[in-house]
């Protein structure tokens, strides 16, 4: 195919990607945006098949590979639970990074076969996309393992970890220079470079706590984008350049926005090893207190006697798949003339916006969802706050306890409400591994048990009042 036609098609794809991201600004147009991006991607891929480098003899194997990947991709996308979305994104991101690394490896092998003089830009971008792609691959897999709970969620640290990471980085730089200097004769060195980058990806993500994984995934998303963009330099391909550049930049912006939501600088997230020092200090004024445990009946009485209820859903609700039951309970309360609102913390769930997805799944109308800034002034006038499987985002220690790992994170001020009912499986600390004294306060009662069962029982108990 005429290269001009190919490039026009790539330009069309790029415009689709940009307009798609633009349409993602509003829930009304977001789906159309995603579909537009699909169209752009399809055009870019089809046109690539007509590239002069592609041998017709290889088309069948391309078809089979794409078919297998496509079927697997669609099947897993259909089956995945909405609660497992963060690890799905992590896994797909890792695969993207792996693809970049493999493309870079092949390009490196090709330079060894060609007689053309080595080109510095080609060499540097090949090496960079291999390094970033493989870091993103292994790092994403560790993030996936942590979210899937195959790996412990709490930070895995050991002495001298930072030193080892810095050493790895130095070794990677040295190997990269060696590859640049000695060119294609250095295949083992190039492999060594990839292996070191893979190890660095693992050791950089291991010490980061499970609660911070969304930030890590977002950052690795940006990494893969950058790596894909660099691969665009290697292949002189505008689709990769623009697609990769867009995602590299947007991923970074998104990462920084998440850090702002948690009130922690990015460096602190990456190197702070939150949760490694679990607050075991006995300085709490609530030390030795026992939480008040209520039955579902008692909770139903409290709720039915209130005028305003704010529901704070957390990851525990998501794990128990209780969003539909919560919605039913809310409907019943509203039918009783009680004002019901949902308070959504920016990092509720395990990803920003994750809770909105889950509640949308249960058909909870938008206008009942309130963001942190909107709902916090309303808590003092709220009769009952129902915390369902949320923990760190309602921990008052974030406001004043400087020794707390979550100090400074904006929280939902539920403790200011008249009564707080906390539905929780047990007294285990949350994902960040921090104790929560909200559970021990005078105006707090706990209802222990699986969120789904508890909410169902409360709902049926409400019938009596």
């Amino acid at each position: 195919m005429n290269p001009d036609i190919t490039n026009v098609a790539y330009l069309f794809a790029a415009v689709c990607f940009i307009v798609a991201l633009k349409l993602m600004n509003s829930p009304v147009t977001a789906r159309r945006g995603n579909r537009l991006a699909m169209v752009g991607m399809a055009v870019a891929l089809v046109v690539t098949l007509f590239h002069p480098d592609i041998k017709p003899a290889n088309l069948p194997i391309i078809a089979v590979t794409v078919l297998i990947g496509g079927v697997l991709g669609i099947a897993s996308a259909r089956r995945i639970q909405m609660t497992a979305m963060p690890q799905m994104v992590a896994l797909l991101n890792g695969l993207g990074g792996g693809a970049v690394c493999l493309v870079a490896l092949v390009e490196f092998l090709k330079t060894g076969q060609s007689s053309a003089p080595p080109d510095a830009v080609h060499g540097i971008t090949t090496i960079l996309s291999a390094i970033i792609g493989s870091m993103s691959f292994s790092g994403s897999l560790v993030a996936f393992g942590k979210l899937q709970e195959w790996l412990p969620g709490r930070p895995i640290t050991f002495k001298g970890q930072q030193t080892i990471n810095i050493l790895l980085l130095v070794v990677i730089l040295a190997l990269a220079l060696a590859v640049l200097a000695f060119g294609a004769a250095t295949l083992p060195v190039f492999i060594g470079l990839v292996v070191c980058s893979l190890i660095l990806g693992v050791s950089a993500v291991l010490p980061i706590g499970g609660a911070d994984m969304p930030v890590v995934i977002s950052l690795l998303n940006s990494f893969t984008g950058c790596a894909a963009g660099l691969a665009g330099f290697v292949l002189l391909n505008t689709a990769l350049l623009i697609g990769g550049g867009l995602v590299g930049a947007s991923g970074l912006i998104l990462t920084l926005q998440m850090c702002v939501a948690m009130n922690r600088p990015l460096g602190n997230v990456l190197f702070g090893a939150v949760g490694s020092v679990i607050a075991s200090s006995g300085q709490s004024a609530f030390a030795g207190r026992q939480p008040k445990s209520f039955s579902e009946e008692d909770a139903a009485i409290l709720l039915s006697n209130s005028e305003s209820v704010v529901i704070v859903p957390g990851y525990g609700m998501a794990v128990a798949q209780a969003q539909h039951q919560v919605k039913e309970m809310a409907a019943k309360l509203m039918a009783m003339g009680i004002d019901v609102k949902y308070a959504i913390h920016p990092v509720a769930g395990r990803m920003p916006g994750h809770m909105n997805v889950l509640l949308a799944e249960a058909d909870v109308p938008y206008d009942q969802l309130y963001e942190l800034e909107q709902i916090n002034p309303l808590f003092p006038e709220t009769d009952v706050v129902l915390v369902i499987g949320a923990n760190d985002v309602v921990n008052p220690a974030a406001r004043y306890d400087k020794s707390s790992p979550i100090y400074g994170m904006p929280i939902l001020d539920v403790d200011k409400a008249k009564t707080v009912i906390v539905l929780k499986r047990s007294m285990n600390p949350g994902f960040a591994g921090v104790e929560n004294e909200l559970f021990l306060m005078d105006n707090t009662v706990m209802v222990f048990g699986n969120a789904k069962t508890t909410v169902t029982k409360i709902t049926s108990a409400l019938d009596k009042y």
Partner: protein
């Protein structure tokens, strides 16, 4: 393509990325992350080129792996984003309030 043209394209793409993303509401951050994740699957273009030009078992094997990873990234990413956004469909404001 000259080097400067390539660098120009890349840098402008970065700025467009920053500009377009800064306006997305937090509600849509998860679908957005997932959609951008699918878009960087455009590296599949590279995978196709590598597999298409492959000669010999080593290149073919590497090409197959790159293409498979890339396809999973693109197809899985877009499909899962679409599934999420489907639930954000516009509905009339609830009348039960």
């Amino acid at each position: 393509m000259t080097l400067i043209a390539i660098v120009t394209i890349f840098i402008l793409a970065i700025f467009v990325g920053i500009e377009v993303i800064s306006k997305v509401p937090a509600t849509l951050h998860t679908p957005l992350m997932s959609a951008t994740n699918a878009i960087h699957g455009v590296v599949l273009v590279g995978g196709l080129l590598v597999l298409g030009a492959a000669d010999g078992p080593l290149m073919t094997a590497l090409g197959i792996a790159a293409t498979l990873f890339g396809t999973l990234n693109v197809v899985g990413g877009f499909a899962v984003t679409d599934r999420m956004l489907e639930m954000f469909k516009v509905r009339k404001r609830s009348s039960d309030k």
